[in-house]
């Protein structure tokens, strides 16, 4: 069990982990090490996810994306949590979770539609069981709780995984969602990716509790603190939480290597020494070191994975370099199930203006 103080719902003093910074295994971890094939898949998807992320940042420089919030450095959370999901589970992501989306199988072009400045959402939430990316913080927590509660009412074995950041834990909706989830015992996993900053505001100005995980306790929600750069640990914790049948708050300690977005200047609020220290805790290096030491990751597989990542990045470039056109008439669609007379009139007026 992941709670050392089960009855108190409190997280452990130290973050749970399975792999140390250098990739050596933690001998006395209460977590179960995922199977070798799972570990290899986690590694592969992290490498591909990171390449996708750097490609997306590059696309902003070429004007192909309006903005991109990078998750570089957070791949253990993005990939570990999503691969821990079962097919029937639902993901409720934020704007920083594009890597989680592509890991879930959402087409990269559909994932980036919002950030490209096209429609606000490019994918079908029902196709991959992925809710819309949440831009105002924490509103998706309540959607996840409602969705999971409905699943239970319908007799379905579906759990929800909602992603949020450290800043979002200050929003009222997070607290209402934890409370509703606690009262309803809803099968929801709240994964807080604590990357240290809400844009520029450091955690010290966001929170006075010993950890963010402590916030679950007041709502009767079991809480877990995990090393967010240890993909094996994130996978193990999230999988167990999703299968628990009730709510869990998971705080994953990680770091956002890039600025908030390509439009942000992180040197105004943090030091390069701090970034360097976290680069030394790189989540991809860690799993690679472990797999290599186990003899599971030989040079051939490593280069095959790297080639796959390059191929994926190339396909993303190709898709995003296509100039898409948007029909102004579509502005009036899907405001209501059936367009109102009022909207039909406005659509006609715009069409006439453009004729």
């Amino acid at each position: 069990m992941v709670h050392t103080r089960e009855r108190s719902l409190l997280p452990t003093e130290e973050p749970l982990s399975l792999l140390r910074k250098d990739g050596s295994p933690v001998e006395d971890s209460p977590l179960t090490m995922p199977d070798d094939d799972v570990l290899l898949e986690l590694h592969r998807r992290m490498v591909v996810g990171r390449r996708f992320d750097t490609q997306a940042t590059a696309l902003t420089k070429q004007g192909r994306l309006a903005v991109y919030p990078s998750s570089r450095g957070q791949e253990a959370c993005e990939v570990g949590s999503v691969l821990a999901m079962r097919a029937e589970d639902w993901l409720f992501p934020t704007y920083r979770d594009s890597v989680a989306l592509v890991t879930r199988g959402v087409d990269p072009a559909e994932t980036l539609t919002l950030l490209q400045g096209g429609w606000h959402l490019g994918y079908d939430p029902y196709e991959h069981r992925v809710g819309p990316q949440c831009t105002p913080l924490a509103t998706n927590t309540l959607h996840a709780v409602g969705f999971a509660h409905a699943a239970r009412l319908k007799g379905e074995d579906t759990a929800a995984l909602v992603l949020l950041g450290d800043g979002a834990t200050s929003e009222g909706d997070t607290h209402e969602a934890l409370n509703f989830a606690g009262v309803w015992r809803a099968p929801v996993v709240f994964l807080v990716q604590n990357n240290g900053y809400a844009i520029s505001v450091p955690l010290s100005k966001q929170n006075a509790a010993p950890t963010l995980a402590h916030k679950g306790v007041g709502y009767g929600v079991p809480s877990v603190l995990v090393d967010g750069n240890d993909v094996a640990a994130v996978y193990a914790v999230v999988r167990e939480a999703l299968e628990s049948g009730g709510p869990t708050l998971v705080e994953a300690l990680t770091y956002r290597i890039e600025a908030h977005t390509n439009a942000d200047d992180a040197t105004r609020y943090r030091t390069s020494d701090e970034v360097a220290a976290w680069l030394d805790r790189d989540p991809v290096d860690r799993i690679e070191a472990y797999l290599t030491s186990r003899g599971l990751l030989d040079p051939a597989r490593r280069s095959a994975v790297a080639a796959e990542a390059e191929e994926f990045a190339a396909s993303v470039r190709d898709k995003m370099n296509v100039d898409r056109t948007y029909d102004p008439a579509a502005l009036f669609e899907h405001v209501y199930a059936t367009p109102t007379r009022h909207l039909r009139e406005q659509a006609a007026a715009l069409a006439e203006e453009l004729a």
Partner: protein
Amino acid sequence: MTVSMGRALNQALADALSEDPGVLVFGEDVGPLGGVFRVTDGLTARFGESRVFDTPLAESGIVGTAIGMAMNGLRPVVEMQFDAFAYPAFEQITSHLAKMRNRTRGRVSLPVVIRVPYGGGIGGVEHHCDSSEAYYTHTPGLTVVTPGTPDDAYRLLRDSIASPDPVIFLEPKRRYWAKGELSGAAVPMDRALVRRTGRDVTLIAYGPMVATALETAEAAVEEGWDVEVVDLRSLSPFDDETVCASVRKTGRAVVVHEAAGFGGYGAEVVARVTERCFHHLHAPVLRVTGFDIPYPPPKLEEHHLPNVDRILDAVARLQWDDEVVGGYRA
């Protein structure tokens, strides 16, 4: 059958719960207590705790979880206990409930009904008497309706629950106890109704002011005015056709609502009527509304709320003689 508006709403909820197993009713005190206005009386006993239930006291939580449930195929009908208590849910309503269909390009429908007892006239203390309709009607994606009679209360609530779009269902709390017949007749949800026909002037009202407008029309008979009363029913979308047909016929109109006038719903009605009926108008379209003040305490609310005298005064100012120069009475 003669019933109160509260009873008609209760019947509509019960019938919807009976007919569709996906319908859920939840909110604060709506379970065993039956709601502070007893609109959900007896529903938990009849349909069980899993379908009609109390929630934590958190309005954003109520609407946010309703969104998640609707995404998962259910039809939540939630209650905000009082108008001003709905404000914590504003972000979930305006940024998510209203926009989900549009941002998902029609892939996600949110058939959620938010019932809001609104308006004053019941001696309610602070934060219990707001008329918040304009906040909702200003939000594309929301349907906003309000009944003025028990018959419409039943019909509009059934139609709202059946709607594929989110509906803000505003219940005029001072009319909960007013009685009327349930006709069983169908009227499209987005249409206004002429409650009383007349030749001289159109009173445009909705929700709590429909009865006041009808009283005014009776009082106006003594003054020699034949007053038509249009009950909007649907605030968004707005039924231009019915309203304009009436105003073109009478040539004069007064819009009545409890909410503050400045930037209020009545301003939209006046603009639409003026744009469409200008050459039929004999006088500017006037508004009788609450003052532009925070809702007053119970001992002063009678001065704030539109009443028969104030509406009659407005009717009297509609330039009935020809002594008008430059928009002012000579």
